[in-house]
């Protein structure tokens, strides 16, 4: 098949919708919710209204069944408006993905219905206070008791954790079994023994809610288990292989915003009697930003294409995630530099880009973990 970089008419239309939504509904309120460190629920409601929320749920379960490329197209646009706000639908897709990958027909019907009939979110709980990158070292215990698992333990850094209708929680039936003892359980909001505490004082992405989840003798029905006992770790890893691509998409949005803001400012700001855009020192920075953005976007689309065509993609998702977040961080950094002192002030939007995109280098697997995945891909060939 020949290479074809064109988008379908439908993809162009949904890009247009997401772009307009970001411009009219997200960008104008981003600074306010960043300052308040609050989730903009009215935006979540509007995302639901126009169909941009939980859109990866298959049509058979009341969703739109969007592919990865569509998710990437939408992700770039929403993150252009605010990376923190984009994390809300993105983290919901992160919660949906393990159910998509490992849930039974009955589970999909039951859990997805809650996310399509009204504005609602899902969440994914893997990290714990004592483990992040070493995911198999989790300590949250799941002890079987008849038709239930009794959950005890603490999860942390859980996006949407307090808002979510349900959370996919990874726990161990026996810590000595390491990754072979992991079980994935869907815990519904309001289950006795399940509490969510909002974490305050984040550097960026302050409009997305990040939570610590505490489970104290929390009884979860066995029918909420995804796959078999012991399959949880693989479900988590397969999920992240997919959802790293939307993280890359978010980075593209931040990088594009940084380039646009920097370009506008460079054309307006005068120094030595002319716009600073006339100086090569500024031009080189803008050129570097576009080089990063274009290559990251092309690669992220490629990773999405591998995913949509069912080909091995774990390494590509890792490359896209790490690379896009790094070029975006650098773009935000240079956008501040071009703005000079004004760039350091909250009155201008560029300092927030840097604070927000820092997280893209950390969550859903740090960029160091991405490099391990990439290296393993090289060495195992």
């Amino acid at each position: 098949m020949p290479i074809d970089f064109s988008l379908t008419d439908e993809q162009k239309e949904l890009q247009k919708l997401a772009r307009r939504f970001a411009k009219e509904q997200i960008a104008p309120i981003a600074a306010e919710y960043d300052a308040k460190e609050e989730v903009p629920w009215p935006v979540v409601e509007k995302l639901h209204e126009v169909g941009l929320l939980n859109a990866i749920i298959p049509e058979a379960y009341g969703g739109l069944g969007l592919g990865m490329l569509e998710e990437v197209i939408i992700g770039e646009e929403l993150a252009w408006g605010c990376m923190g706000i984009y994390t809300i639908p993105m983290a919901s897709d992160l919660g949906i993905t393990p159910v998509l990958l490992a849930g039974s027909h009955e589970q999909k019907q039951r859990f997805f219905k809650k996310l399509t009939e009204k504005p609602a979110l899902a969440a994914f709980a893997l990290s714990e206070p004592g483990n992040g990158s070493d995911a198999a070292a989790l300590r949250t215990r799941a002890v079987r008791d008849g038709d239930y698992y009794v959950l005890n333990g603490t999860k942390t850094w859980i996006s949407n954790g307090g808002e979510a209708e349900w959370v996919v929680v990874f726990a161990t039936v026996n810590p000595e079994l390491r990754h072979k003892g992991v079980v994935a359980l869907v815990v519904e909001k309001g289950t006795p023994g399940f509490k969510a505490h909002k974490l305050h004082g984040k550097m960026g992405q302050r409009a997305s809610g990040t939570y610590e989840l505490v489970f104290e003798d929390c009884r979860v029905p066995v029918e909420n288990r995804l796959g078999q006992e012991g399959e949880g770790f693989r479900i988590a890893m397969n999920t992240l292989d997919k959802t790293r691509i939307p993280v890359a998409a978010g980075s593209l949005g931040v990088a594009r915003r940084a380039l646009e803001e920097a370009t506008r400012y460079a054309k307006e700001r005068q120094a030595f009697g002319r716009p600073i855009a006339d100086f090569q020192a500024i031009q080189f920075k803008l050129a570097e930003m576009l080089m990063g953005l274009e290559t990251a976007r092309a690669y992220t689309y490629y990773a999405a294409w591998l995913t949509d065509t069912g080909q091995p993609q774990a390494h590509a998702a890792a490359i896209a995630k790490a690379y896009a977040s790094e070029i975006a961080f650098e773009a935000a950094n240079q956008a501040i530099q071009i703005h000079g002192g004004y760039g350091y002030m909250r009155e201008y939007p560029v300092e927030k880009l840097l604070r927000d995109v820092k997280l893209n280098q950390i969550y859903e697997g740090t960029n160091e973990i991405q490099r391990l995945i990439i290296a393993r891909h090289i060495l195992n060939q």
């Binding site: 008419d9 439908e10 162009k12 239309e13 919708l17 307009r20 126009v50 169909g51 859109a55």
Partner: protein, 248 residues
């Protein structure tokens, strides 16, 4: 009942326009459904939601105008008709061609934008009414259907507003305040692909020909008033604003 919107595709207000060989070059511009036409589309959808029947959107324009028609379909219009014509056609010729399609559709009413963001002629609505022999209500901010043959509308005048009762079918043109248009939803976009979009090639001769286009540029006068004597400076400023700028 059948409600029909006539729309145009125009450059986004933020697009940078260039002149190439005496013509506006739209190759780098983002083209969108005209905002005032979007109000017309929204109103047609609302009328259909309230009174039932069918909604149709019609456009006259080049191939690319199909995108604007798809946007209207994604917002909720049932089907589209596209009169395909490249190049410039004056509003009277456009209205005559559109009137043929509209007559065949026999709608309860027609809604279109009060003016459009590119040629800005404000002529298409009235010209359509003329070609159809129907009444026209321009700059409409409210419309209420009293029966299949009668509507009540509020429309802007230079000095205020006027409430009118009008026999249908009629042509209405939109004004700011008519409604807040909805977003085309994602399910709407996906459904729009499967909706009917009929293409009719059009070959009509324009009654007017565009010879050359230029972009309006105003250079600043850069007048500075010496402020050493504040009273005379204020008098001078008032004089300039009154006599030269003609703003007070």
């Amino acid at each position: 009942m059948k409600f029909l919107a006539v729309i145009r595709q125009v450059p986004d207000g933020e697009s940078r326009l260039k002149i190439e060989g005496g013509r506006v070059d739209l190759s780098g511009a983002t083209l969108i459904l005209d905002q005032m036409d979007e109000w017309a589309v929204e109103e047609v959808i609302r009328l259909q939601e309230k009174h039932g029947g069918e909604s149709v959107v019609v456009a006259l324009g080049p191939e690319r105008a199909e995108e604007a028609l798809r946007t209207a379909l994604a917002m909720g219009i049932d089907r589209a008709v596209h009169l395909v014509a490249e190049g410039y056609l004056d509003p009277i010729t456009q209205a005559e061609a559109l009137a043929e399609v509209i007559r065949a559709e026999a709608p309860t009413l027609v809604f279109t934008g009060g003016q459009q963001a590119d040629w800005d002629s404000q002529a298409l609505g009235p010209a359509l009414a003329e070609a159809l022999g129907w009444p026209v209500v321009s700059w409409t901010t409210q419309i209420e259907l009293e029966s299949e043959t009668q509507a009540k509308a509020l429309h802007d005048l230079d000095e205020g507003a006027e409430r009118v009762r009008v026999a249908l079918p009629a042509v209405f043109t939109s004004q700011q305040g008519l409604n807040e248009p909805r977003y085309p939803t994602l399910p709407g976009i996906m459904k729009a692909k499967r909706k009917e979009l009929k293409k009719l090639p059009l070959s009509a001769a324009s009654k007017a020909e565009v010879l050359e286009q230029t972009i309006q540029e105003r250079t600043r006068l850069n007048k500075l008033i010496d402020g050493k004597d504040p009273v005379s400076a204020a008098h001078e400023l008032v004089r300039l604003l009154h006599e030269e700028a003609k703003v007070i």
